[in-house]
Symmetry: C2
Subunit: 206 residues, 2 copies
Amino acid sequence: MPKVGMQPIRRRQLIQATLEAIDEAGLADATIARIAKRAGVSTGIISHYFAGKDGLLEATMRHVLSDLGNAVLERRAALGEAPPEAHLHAIIDGNFDRSQTSRSVMKTWLAFWASSMHHRPLQRLQRVNDRRLYSNLSCQFRRVLPKQEARDAARGLAALIDGLWLRGALAQEGLNVDRARQLAYDYVRVQLETAHYSRTRANDYA
Amino acid sequence: MPKVGMQPIRRRQLIQATLEAIDEAGLADATIARIAKRAGVSTGIISHYFAGKDGLLEATMRHVLSDLGNAVLERRAALGEAPPEAHLHAIIDGNFDRSQTSRSVMKTWLAFWASSMHHRPLQRLQRVNDRRLYSNLSCQFRRVLPKQEARDAARGLAALIDGLWLRGALAQEGLNVDRARQLAYDYVRVQLETAHYSRTRANDYA
DNA sequence: TTTTGTTGATTGACCGTTCAATAAAAAATT
DNA sequence: AATTTTTTATTGAACGGTCAATCAACAAAA
């Protein structure tokens, strides 16, 4: 079997096996022995391709994060100069994409969140992601709301998305994606209606 | 120094030391050696009073959970038959009580959330808490909203609270309690206004 | 003297890493 | 085409280190 060009194949295998191992046993018990066994390779391979367990975990988080980024970008790319509501819906949909709502990925996210509090490289990745979500939301709200209201709307929606997501991960019955999306849509609608009323009132005064 | 009646004292000491150790090093590195050192006792004490490390961690979670329950209950006790909005605000305030928004407690919560996915006793505790929050919120919304709307409002508010809380735990600048509370209040207000409009419209039809 | 509380060295288990050995494909040589 | 040589990929036993749990010994109050 040994051939050239194994690196990308093995890396993908091992990242997938890591997600499965975390789903199965949790980050604390996702030992390299368990991960290697799931991937059908020996333990030595991990250090060979990722320079140690930490490298594999970081790569796994990068992978999940990259999927999330793509899920959002793909949906927004088709929109162009669409109204803010469409973009906000796209961001919401991206965050509840299938690639982000599987049990193993949600468990992995939660584990990484917890460990990012004490592990600098993971912390960096997580914060980049947090700020990206907030910044994207803030930007769209800003198109129809004053600065402060836009910020608060973005903060609220970001928290709502993460919260729905967190509760879905923890709940026995799992995450009801459609219901979660609808609750997020409702939040957007209310925020945008506020903007509409403001403009209406402004016109009344005119 | 040894005297009778040490048990409650040591238990409190060790639970406090556990919170500090998790804040300092994370759950993964909160070893019994580290916890014992922080509490100023030997490692053997932990097994003596908690029958092992797991017992201590479970007791620590119970302690934090109990603080949260009390924070909510105290605020609601004074309200009696006050309107739903007052109770909802009390629940929100309780969830953002000082006992729940310190760095060490927020970190501990996050760590317990992650490990509750694979540790049955912690999972039980966490679910009881989740359902209690949802149930309390749902109950109050039900006083002015139809069943389905009340449920959705409760689900949304619960997610918003947890999300604000989670983002506060992860954010560099920590949790801005006042701002978080305000965002939650706004959500409540909007939900209750919806109820008001419905009633108004219902009257129009009459 | 008895009871209650405490210590900390010891033990056994497990984990991540390393690295010499091996296997198989690719390249070079005959 | 058959072979040797080189390169790339992989293995897994061995090692050093860490951790939770145990328990015989000890200390101080009752």
